[in-house]
Amino acid sequence: MSGPQPRYSAWSLLRARLSGDGYWRPLWGGRPLRDAYDVVVVGAGGHGLATAFHLARDHGVARVAVLEKRLVGYGNVGRNTTIVRSNYLLPENHYFYEDSLRRWETLSRDLNYNVMYSPRGVVDLALSDDDLSGMARRGNAMRLAGIDCELLDLAALERFCPELEPRRTRRFPIVGALVQRRGGTVRHDAVAWGYARAASALGVDIIEDCEVTGLRTAGGVATGVETTRGYVRAERVVFATAGHTGMVGTMLGIPLPIETHLLQAMVSEPIKPLLHTVLVYVFPGHGETYICQSDRGGLVMGGHLDGFPSYTREGRWDRLEEVVEGAIELFPQIGGVRILRQWAGTNDMTMDGSPIIDRLGYDNVFVNAGWCYGGFKAIPASGAACAALVATGTAPDLIRAFRLSRFASGHLLDERGGGPFPVRL
């Protein structure tokens, strides 16, 4: 790689226009794989890249590599429905996700890369008084933790989201909503690319097409990783391979409380602005649809897991239909809008629905995993906290509850009360 990264701004665009070709530089890469690192991060998804970025920026770790089997941002960071929020019930979760949301607010500036954080609000729709009580429980916990959120009655919901026509007759009438206004969306690919660029500028080696195939240990300590490009020595190793963490457990001979499931997303053809917020609609009979409209104009939707362990990344057609059913029930007017594309990501589903950031089997091996539905929105906080754990050896308060031993001790973080059954509806 030649020359430093130009700083991005409107002026740089103008300068690039005037100076012709050769002004822009690759965002990352260009450096060869070295034979030893202070920290090797496995997986160039959002969590791996953010961890590497914070190791280099906050902790001054000089030699950091991110080894990626395929491509930067090819996994879930580029496959999700782009929603960010911190509206969680359990304090361990809402403090963590709120830390993340605060970082989303300034991330474009911190990375000098526009990740298009759009605080358009995230609305959970309530269909009964019981729903509302449950939302009040969650919302009150958030408010007492200093996190924004409001309970909307029908009139307030109508003002906030008139396009929804909340009073319209529906199979399951809407009775109110919980809204977090600072929640919203972020352009997913930009997050991977922005972190990769910023980490690379700090000296992190990002190596694509380099699959880690094994961990080498000596005397109970990890000494490095075997890769498809040869052995790489490492003082510390971080696995940030959510979606494939179960395989890491198998590789290390440590069974993990994680199952791998597919989660689908889908997008319609672009239309002019219609929906100005993010809606989450959960209804009886296994119904779930979340929907927002991308800046490009497509209606982006998702719903339940496909419902059984899978690595195929090929979604179920009947799940696509179910998600769309929910969307049509919310917005009958979009019946003529067409679905353009459907894809799937592989989710690490833990047995209590909350993540794991902890040591794994060895004192110098770490795992950042088990993100369930929350991986994308967690990236900034996860990267910062995971880097702190790896650099200092001590888990920051923010992630202390995300330890692996909680399943054995019973300190579970079961946000939904679903127990050790990721797909139970």
Binding site: G139, D189, G297
Partner: protein, 975 residues
């Protein structure tokens, strides 16, 4: 003017409007053909640079001519004009322009040129925040109008089982369907177009000596006569798990009148191929069209793409096409063939064309389209000497870079993708054994071989489906010679000109964008796609996907085979959401479960509430205007005299057999084996992780026969739970599990008068039983000639009975009870009564609470080795920070506090300790009361806490009380 003639148009005129102009087409026209015939060349603008665009294709892959159809509010956006059948009075509007197509303000931004290259938005709009710019950018993006309403009618969903599904009714698909049908297979054939035949319709070839179109009609007739389903106007859009989905969206407008869910034993993909464009400068000007599209418009609609045309291709078939266009009255000025003279065949055709004044150029390329707002000429030069360019005047440039097999269906669920050197692109490779490819979709672009391929596929498919096909000689097809093409992707251009060489017109992706993407390190095709939006358009990458990959390969100096194309995602064609939702819309979104007493409730003013799929009375209007007032009135009346409630939604599972008792001992925290016959017990299930799963009453009907009741919401899940353990741990043991939820209606009779009223209603034969029943006893007998079980149990704290009866007698029994002076009460009152007594519902049994949390230490202490028992012993579950169930009242005895309020100690800024699970206004206590989960450290009766509810009520000081608020000695229940 004389009407146009074509295979699909009739002479009668159809009036329509385009951007406010009234125009006329003919019956059978599409919007695209009618506009072409009317001389309308500019039909839209591109989304980013707002460049003027014309019709480019004759299929659903159309990137430019997308219209918003209809009048507000019920518009349908982004309808591809080539698919849209004209109807009288149809209103069409072009997209991406303001205020008009001819003058668009945003098009002035084009002056910014390179400023707005791929990914520019990642580099700016950072200060002060993206939100500042977002709404402007959103309003500029987004193609068609957002609909305000939708007029699409009902959608029929048909499930079809068949031996062989054939997708595509062109030559190969028809041959496959016929071969399979002749082998005795049950066949379903889907064809996207309104008629079968595909290219047979215009290619001018013959099959078995008959004109192609006529042969297609004969085959369709034969298929139908043999019982095959031939679904025209029906597009295969996706599927999974062996079920393929086809949608019929008539007239090209969204909203199917039919959705077919087809489960075949074998599946033949014969979905044809898509013609490739070639990148040259300004190749997006109105007047640049795919050659095959021009042929279709001419043959089907008699519409000419231009008067004077230049053809630009790199295969032999262009000469046959030129001859047909010339025969149709178009002047073919020049045929520009990028191949060298020694690669080119079709000598006879070229000679003939030359004699008629067409210039046939080998080793040449069209460098650029000239013209300001539409094509006025083609700039042509020898590839060896691009500077020696000259301009040939013309009004259309018809392009054909070869064909790419339709890949979408063949690369899903286990289909491989292969590089095909013959076509210079990719074909679907090895397939799962039930899926076959045929014809152009299989890389067979010549009529004869395509028919043979179709027959072979049809016979193989029939064999897979278990039929024995006879050898059936393939039809004798004679059409255009093999294309013998060489892939040619783009003409030479300077670096500045590359900004106007479009590879994906809808998203304005140019060769320069691909170069910029590479310069910034986005090299892999998946990265390039995400960075430039290549292939993200409504054509799903059909136009630009492969071309972009090929140009990328050229720039990188790598073979296209290595570069690959990005993964193709379902659906195979864009499909409207209304069609996807099928019949599950509105009231049919989910079925409603109704109790046998539903009609009575409705007739008597009940306000119903959904509880899962069940509909239950929340309150009765006669008792108050709203739920609050009516609930209080109904609850008060139960305590004062009595009332009845519909409990039919309770889950009921019958467990029987010699091992039934032992089986239930395993499923419940306390022992079912210790229940005596005729008695019942309140019992609790644990989940495998030790949390409380559900609670209910278990009745022992006989030594080997029990009924276990579950909460209404958990019924279906508990049934599966029972069945799971029956079939796993208990497999081979003598126990049966039967869902009897809907075999029994349940009427709850509660209140001091309940026994007396029951005596009157049930009559003398029940007198003794009623007198005998102690709390948790039950008796069985008959009422109205049907079975009835009367269980003395109470969820209200009153003397109460549950009447489990056959549904047929539920209403007479209910009405008799009402007549006996027991009025109905609903869920609101039920909730008041149970909170007064500290009984639990899903508000407390929420999957997060252990039996210790809920005050069931006594049950755990019994030591029954049940499911979940082992993991209940984890250390955290015994910690003092775990919650315990308590009662709550306002410290001042007056204030209201609500379920969902968080509980803290009274010091400012304290973190929540617990929360209010349930709260009601209690008519019996004459104040607000609640249940709560708070740590044992704070659970002492009399402790003061703050109920904090910033979302609704603010802060209320509350006092911890025992969970039982009313009648702690349970005197009333035992009376």
């Amino acid at each position: 003017m004389t009407p146009r003639r074509g295979t699909r148009v009739g002479p009668d005129a159809v009036r329509f409007s385009f951007d406010g102009r009234t125009l006329h087409g003919q019956v059978g026209d599409t919007a695209a053909s009618a506009l072409l015939a009317a001389g309308v060349r500019r039909v839209g603008r591109s989304v980013k640079y707002r460049r003027l665009r014309g019709v480019m294709t004759a299929g659903p892959e159309e990137p430019n001519a997308l219209f918003t159809v209809g009048t507000a509010p019920a518009v349908i956006p982004n309808v591809p004009a080539p698919q849209l059948e004209l109807r009288e009075g149809m209103v069409l509007r072009s997209q991406n322009r303001w205020p008009s197509l001819e003058f668009d303000v945003a098009s002035l931004l084009q002056a910014g040129g390179g400023f707005f290259g791929a990914g520019f938005y990642y580099k700016t709009f950072i200060w002060p925040s993206w939100r500042t710019y977002e709404s402007l950018i959103r309003s500029l993006a987004g193609l068609g109008e957002a609909p305000g309403a939708c007029n699409i009618g009902p959608v029929a969903v048909e499930h079809l089982g068949c031996d062989v599904l054939v997708a595509g009714g062109g030559a190969a698909g028809l041959a496959a369907a016929r071969a399979a049908t002749r082998a005795g297979a049950r066949v379903v054939l889907c064809e996207r177009d309104p008629v079968c035949g595909g290219e047979l319709e215009f290619e001018g070839g013959t099959v078995d000596g008959r004109a192609g179109g006529a042969w297609a009609e004969t085959v369709v007739a034969e298929l139908r006569a043999a019982g095959a389903r031939v679904l025209t106007g029906t597009t295969l859009v996706g599927g999974s798990g062996g079920e393929m989905i086809a949608h019929a969206e008539p007239g090209g407008l969204a909203g199917a009148n039919a959705v077919y869910k087809i489960s075949p034993r074998a599946f033949v993909i014969a979905m044809g191929a898509v013609e490739r464009p070639i990148a040259f400068v300004d190749n997006d000007l109105p007047g640049v069209m795919l050659l095959g599209a021009a042929e279709r418009y001419l043959a089907r609609y008699g519409a000419r793409a231009g008067r004077d045309v230049v053809l630009f291709a790199s295969h032999d078939r262009v000469y046959a096409s030129a001859a047909r266009l010339a025969a149709g009255g178009m002047r073919v000025r020049a045929i520009v063939d990028a191949r060298q003279p020694d690669e080119i065949g079709a000598a006879d055709l070229r000679d003939a064309l030359g004699r008629d004044g067409t210039e046939c150029l080998a080793g040449h390329a069209v460098l650029a389209a000239s013209g300001g707002r539409a094509v006025s000429g083609a700039r042509i030069a020898p590839l060896a000497a691009p500077r020696q360019a000259r301009t040939v005047p013309c009004d259309a440039i018809l392009v054909s870079g070869g064909w790419t097999p339709a890949l979408h269906a063949g690369v899903q669920e286990g289909g491989a993708r292969l590089y095909d050197p013959r076509s210079g692109g990719f074909v679907a490779g090895e397939q799962p054994e039930w899926r076959l490819l045929a014809g152009a979709a299989n890389g067979q672009f010549e009529l004869g071989p395509a028919l043979a391929d179709g027959v072979a596929a049809g016979m193989r498919a029939a064999r897979i489906a278990g039929r024995q096909p006879l050898t059936d000689p393939p039809p004798d097809g004679r059409g255009d010679a093999a294309p013998r093409g060489r892939a040619f992707w783009r003409s030479p251009a300077s670096s500045a000109e590359e900004k106007r060489q479009f590879v994906d017109p809808q998203n304005d992706v140019t060769v320069a964008d691909l170069r910029a993407s590479l310069a910034e390190g986005f090299v892999d095709i998946e990265h390039v796609k995400r960075y430039t939006a290549l292939g993200f358009g409504t054509d799903q990458g059909r136009i630009g996907g492969l071309l972009g990959a090929a140009v990328l390969a050229e720039i990188r100096g790598r073979p296209l085979e290595d570069v690959g194309t990005s993964r193709l995602r379902p659906p195979f064609h864009p499909v409207s959401m209304r069609s996807l939702a099928g019949w599950r819309v509105g009231a049919a979104l989910r079925p409603a479960r109704r109790t046998p007493l539903h009609d009575w409730h409705v007739e008597h003013g009940a306000v119903l509430e959904s509880m899962g799929l069940w509909m239950r009375p929340r309150f009765y209007r006669a008792n108050g205007d709203d739920a609050f007032a009516a609930g209080i009135a109904e609850a008060r009346r139960v305590r004062d005299s009595g009332g009845i409630a519909d409990g039919s939604t309770l889950g009921k599972i019958e467990v029987a057999g010699p091992d039934a008792a032992a089986f239930l001992d395993r499923l419940y925290l306390s022992k079912a084996s210790s229940i005596r016959v005729g008695r019942s017990k309140y019992m609790v299930n644990l989940r495998e992780d030790g949390m409380v799963l559900d609670d209910g009453i278990v009745l022992r009907l006989a030594p080997d026969r029990y009924i276990a009741t579950t909460s209404s919401g958990h019924g279906p899940h508990m049934l599966s739970h029972f069945e799971h353990y029956r079939d796993t741990d208990w497999s081979g043991r003598a126990v049966t599990v039967t869902d009897v939820t809907e075999a029994w209606a349940a009427i709850v009779v509660a209140g001091p008068r309940s026994r007396d009223a029951l005596r009157g209603v049930l009559g003398a034969e029940w007198e003794a039983s009623l007198a005998r029943l102690r709390h948790m006893d039950f008796a069985t007998g008959r009422f109205g000639g049907r079975e009835l079980t009367v269980l003395r149990a109470s969820f209200s704290g009153e003397l109460a009975f549950e009447l489990h009866c056959r549904p047929a007698i539920a209403r007479p029994l209910w009405e008799a009870l009402v007549a006996a002076g027991l009025p109905p009460y609903g869920l609101e009152a039920l909730d008041i009564l149970r909170v007064e007594k500290g009984y639990l519902t899903t508000a407390e049994i929420n999957g997060q609470t252990t039996p210790f949390d809920l005050g069931m230490e006594g049950l755990v202490g019994l030591g029954n080795d049940c499911i979940g028992r082992g993991l209940l012993e984890r250390p955290a579950f015994r910690e003092a920070s775990r919650p315990g169930l308590v009662g709550l009242r306002a410290a001042d005895g007056k204030a209201r506090f609500l379920a969902g309020a968080q509980l803290t100690d009274r010091a400012a800024g304290s973190r929540p300790l617990g929360y209010v699970t349930s709260s009601v206004y209690s008519p019996a206590c004459r104040e607000w009361i609640g249940l709560a989960l708070v740590p044992r450290s704070h659970a002492a009766a009399g402790a003061l806490l703050l109920a904090r509810d910033p979302l609704r009520e603010g802060d209320v000081e509350v006092r911890v009380t025992p969970a039982v608020h009313f009648d702690p000695g349970a005197e009333r229940m035992k009376s």
